[in-house]
């Protein structure tokens, strides 16, 4: 990798995780408030994360195996907030029923 590619790829990866974090946090906030606007922002964050995945895939000189790993993890980012939220919701509902 050239010096510039090292830095640009690293920044791309940082923004990738940040966008995933924004999606998770906003998704949870949107579910809490039943807010469509927040949910739209959450999905926009995820779209940014997908866009960053495409940029890293196309323009970085990372080995194909690492690109595939990033592709797999972007799918993980899609499901973690949804699954966590559902699990928390079920847990709280059954927890409240038993107490």
């Amino acid at each position: 990798m050239t010096p510039a590619e090292v830095i640009m790829t690293a920044i791309g990866l940082a923004l990738f995780v940040l966008a995933g974090g924004c999606y998770g946090g906003l998704y949870a906030a949107a579910m809490l408030r039943s807010s469509r606007r927040l949910m739209g922002t959450a999905f926009a964050s995820y779209a940014v994360q997908l866009g960053l995945t495409v940029l890293v895939w196309m323009y970085s000189n990372l080995a194909m195996s690492w690109k595939l790993l990033i592709l797999a993890s972007v799918l993980g980012y899609a499901f973690v907030p949804v699954v966590t939220w559902r699990y928390m919701h079920i847990l709280h509902r059954t927890g409240e029923q038993t107490t």
Binding site: M1, A10, A14, G21, G24, G25, A28, L62, S65, L91
Partner: protein, 465 residues
């Protein structure tokens, strides 16, 4: 109040003091980068850095131990067994820390020998403490293990959180024994040393803080035990699932086989995912309670923990963990920026939350509120973000000019160190270090005053954040 909780207060007070020593030593270390002749031949950079790093480990450890001594008797409704022994060892521990600090400051000269390993410095980062002090740490931890297990046995009660804690104490103790080894082969040394450093930080400490946070959630939100325990099991499973083999990212470039590049890269890349789950959990918990609590400082520090952990460990870690990037970033100020943010988010914020939880009970404040906690929280976090920003710019400059462009030669090292971006970034770091130090002073002021006079009338309606 239980005797164990009085001991917890001593531990938490000592942790707060050492947090201050760490901050002061960190500021001094930052100053050397801007004014390299500072305290020349009086107090070397290496000593200030050692003090900064070792007090970081010790204040967090004291914070964890104090937190467990605080919650344990509440959990089991039983005084901690062998508390007298723990009380004696607290003073031994604290005296040993002062003695070691004195040795670091005044006796760091001369040749290395078997006796210097025992009396002065073991020479391995994070575990520099001489062997006599390391034996003392093992003793303190063993008594701590005895306290926890015997209390559970005598109380004839075992909760899910305590099971996780008790099991975690085994590797916590066993891994530290590696502090005593002194292999002469550098690769071999680094290989096992990372077992101690990584497995403590990204393994046993994560589990320990998970148990403490479970108790904290029950305390400030009244969340049911069933909920926190179920979530604790999942988090422990996910964190250990990715964290144990995430060890591989420390095995890059130290003479280990190539397969560690793949193992380290894959598992490190997965590490942000459980942290994302924690962010969702934090938003859920705070939201379902409509941000209402009698202890807002503790609640906000708990939230800071979830977000700080995700950004500091997850985002800052992932950007430099793939081997193709890490080849250039490893060991630069880039790593330092990740280390600062990750420790802050994963552990320091959580321990500060416990300070406030303990204070609310000690001061018998129905509602714990002040202005100072907001100032201290703002300054500490802005200071930390500024510092890691400065270190990140400095590290990227090093990776660019020294590593990728200069090929890691001595000349390239000098070129990078003299680069205007690097130098300005270090000034930036120092400036925000001062903001952080002011935040620490505000925190101490708040700890001394909050809840002493009732600012909120008893029975007043809880304020949403």
């Amino acid at each position: 109040m239980y005797r164990s909780q009085k001991l917890a207060l001593r531990y938490l007070t000592a942790a707060l003091l050492l947090f201050g020593v760490m901050t002061a030593a960190g500021l001094l270390s930052a100053l050397y980068y801007v004014e390299p002749s500072t305290l020349y031949n009086v107090l070397d950079f290496s000593v200030a850095k050692t003090l900064h790093i070792d007090t970081l480990v010790i204040w967090l450890l004291m914070g964890f131990i104090g937190s467990v001594y605080w919650f344990l008797p509440q959990e089991l409704e039983h005084e901690v067994e062998g508390i007298w022994l723990a009380e004696i060892l607290f003073f031994v521990f604290f005296a040993a820390v002062l003695a070691v600090a004195g040795i670091f400051i005044f006796v760091q000269y001369g040749t290395t020998s078997e006796s210097s390993l025992w009396l002065i410095n073991q020479g391995r980062k994070y575990v520099e403490a001489p062997r006599w002090a390391a034996i003392g740490i093992v003793l303190v931890v063993l008594v701590f293990v005895y306290n926890v297990t015997m209390t559970a046995i005598r109380a004839r009660r075992m909760t899910g959180i305590l099971w996780v804690l008790a099991l975690d104490l085994i590797p916590l103790t066993a891994l530290y024994l590696n502090a005593f080894s002194a292999p002469t082969n550098m690769s071999e040394d680094q290989y096992w040393w990372w077992w101690l450093v990584h497995m403590w930080v990204e393994g046993t400490w994560e589990v320990l803080i998970g148990c403490i946070m479970a108790w904290a959630l029950m305390d400030i939100f009244g969340t049911s035990r069933k909920i926190v325990e179920a979530w604790l099991y999942i988090e422990v499973m996910l964190v250990l699932g990715t964290g144990i083999l995430g060890l591989g990212h420390h095995y890059f470039w130290i003479g280990t086989p190539d397969y560690w590049l793949t193992i380290g890269g894959v598992f490190s890349a997965m590490e942000p995912l459980p942290l994302l789950g924690m962010v969702v959990h934090a938003v859920y918990d705070a939201g379902t309670h409509k941000m209402k609590t009698t202890n807002r400082p503790a609640m906000f520090w708990l939230l800071a923990e979830a977000f700080g952990n995700f950004i500091g460990a997850g985002m800052f870690g992932f950007m430099m963990t793939l081997p193709q990037i890490n080849l250039y970033s490893h060991g630069t100020q880039w790593t330092v920026s990740h280390g600062h943010f990750a420790f802050w988010g994963a552990y320091a914020c959580g321990v500060i939350a416990i300070f406030y939880i303990a204070l609310q009970k000690v001061r018998e404040a129905e509602v714990l509120e002040s202005r100072a906690w907001k100032w201290s929280m703002a300054m500490l976090n802005i200071g930390m973000i500024g510092m890691v920003g400065g270190l990140l710019i400095a590290g990227i400059t090093q990776a660019f000019y020294e590593r990728a462009q200069g090929g890691s030669t001595l000349q390239a090292f000098v070129v990078a160190a003299e680069n205007i971006w690097f130098r300005n970034a270090m000034v930036f770091r120092l400036a925000f270090g001062i903001v952080f130090a002011l935040g620490y002073l505000a925190l101490v002021y708040d700890m001394l005053t909050i809840g002493k006079k009732s600012t909120v009338p008893a029975g007043a309606e809880l304020k949403p954040a």
